[in-house]
Amino acid sequence: MAKNKQIETLLAQYYTLCSSCSSPTLSPIDAEHKIDDVQKELVTMLDIDKECREPKKRYLYKVLFSTKALDTALRTFLDIHNAWPCGTNPPSLGGYINALKKGGRLFNTLASHIAQAANKEIVDKRNEYLHVANKYPTRQEQEKICDKILEFMQTVVNLA
């Protein structure tokens, strides 16, 4: 319940950003649809408890859905502020974090120690569990990753 409310509160701030979208390629409505997708992933992340009984798969799914949500949230944030030049960089979480670190005309720069922490505690962990065979997070590790993701999303929206 508390996590639900935190997600609802967090996404309300992202939705509000969408109305000031300055991208030539993304309309405010399209940006809102992207945040709808982020919300769906986060809701799935919460609901997976009911659908998947096997703990290790459940924890892996939670990491998967929450990192998908983060990926789209960061890309949408950068697109809203016209800070992700099309065709120049392959889309990736690490690339988005670097772009946030560089800053933009319309948002503050992400501090390097936060970028470093996001890479270490989110991107590296995501790669460890989603790209390596027979590697699964424990419950504590999964909770830590998911909490870090939500905290990082709040940190990013506060840059605007």
């Binding site: 409310k5 935190q6 509160t9 701030q13 509000t16 000031s20 501090a111 922490a117």
Partner: protein, 283 residues
């Protein structure tokens, strides 16, 4: 009959009742998205009517924790306005909405022009968030040093029984259960006291130690804000435990630790200061 609170929620389908920010326990009572902004609505609680400091803390910490387009509005029931001690301080803000039983519902799209103003330098918010991450990273990397399971109340000749801090609306206010030790603010709690009151006291104290409320309603940083601050406690504040309370302390620049002596506390203070410098050099 529906209260104004209920009417506002019914009239705004996108409103969020009792929102919860990731960084703090201090939140508005309702969030309402309108006109590309979010209004944070604050309805005074009974204890906030008795102690306006608590309301001001709730507004300012949440304003720091939410993104910049959150516009706070305080809703005051006209019946209670005479009970608020030194209500004049609220006139510093343009976001007061007085109401009684017959007050019409506010139009949030129209209210925006009257309310939109920032209450702090954006760099203050950035620094609070950066410091929170810094404290969390240090705690995670040094968990065994800071969480010793050997908590003792620490006393020193310079400990005070109660800290006195200036109250925003009135005279000095005594803060119970926390102590200063030494020159930097090193705080500990008294085990016998209740959690909520002590936690709230610590928050109010730290906000007012770190920041100053100017007459125009703006919040500015005090020079104290640069000091490292530690909360020695056996409450279970760990970075991987209850994140919300931990984050709230870290957001206010407090690092919760659990040690049994001043010398151990000073060791942590030294390691933390060294860690801060290392991180600073990396930047």
């Amino acid at each position: 009959m529906l209260s104004l609170f209920e009417k506002i929620v019914n009239d705004n389908p996108k409103s969020i009742v009792k929102p919860q920010n990731m960084f703090t326990i201090d939140n508005p009572d309702i969030l309402i998205p309108a006109n590309g902004n979010i209004f944070g609505l604050y309805f005074l609680k009974k204890k906030e009517i008795e102690r306006l400091d608590l309301l001001l803390r709730r507004i300012y910490i949440s304003k720091l924790a939410y993104f910049s387009k959150m516009v706070p509005i305080v809703f005051i029931d006209k019946k209670t306005i005479n009970d608020i001690h030194n209500v004049d301080i609220l006139s510093h803000f343009r976001f007061i909405y007085e109401y009684n039983d017959s007050t019409a519902l506010p139009s949030f799209s129209k209210l925006f022009d009257e309310c939109s103003m920032d209450y702090y330098d954006r760099r203050i918010q950035n620094r609070a968030i950066q410091r929170m991450w810094h404290i969390k990273l240090f705690s995670e990397e040094n968990i065994e040093a800071i969480k010793t399971n050997q908590y003792k109340e620490i006393y020193s000749p310079s400990s005070q029984s109660n800290i006195l801090i200036p109250s925003w609306p009135s005279k000095m206010h005594s803060i119970k259960n926390i102590y200063n030790i030494g020159d930097d603010v090193l705080i500990e709690r008294e085990c016998r006291s209740g959690f909520v009151d002590t936690f709230e006291n610590i928050l109010t104290y730290t906000l007012k130690y770190n920041y100053q409320l100017l007459d125009n309603g703006f919040l500015v940083e005090n020079k104290n804000n640069k000091y490292n601050k530690f909360l020695n406690t056996n409450w279970d504040f760990t970075p991987n435990g209850n994140n919300l309370y931990y984050n709230t302390l870290a957001f206010m620049g407090l690092l919760p630790i659990e040690v049994d002596s001043i010398s151990n506390l000073k060791k942590i203070a030294y390691t933390y200061s060294d860690y801060s410098l290392t991180k600073h050099r990396k930047r």
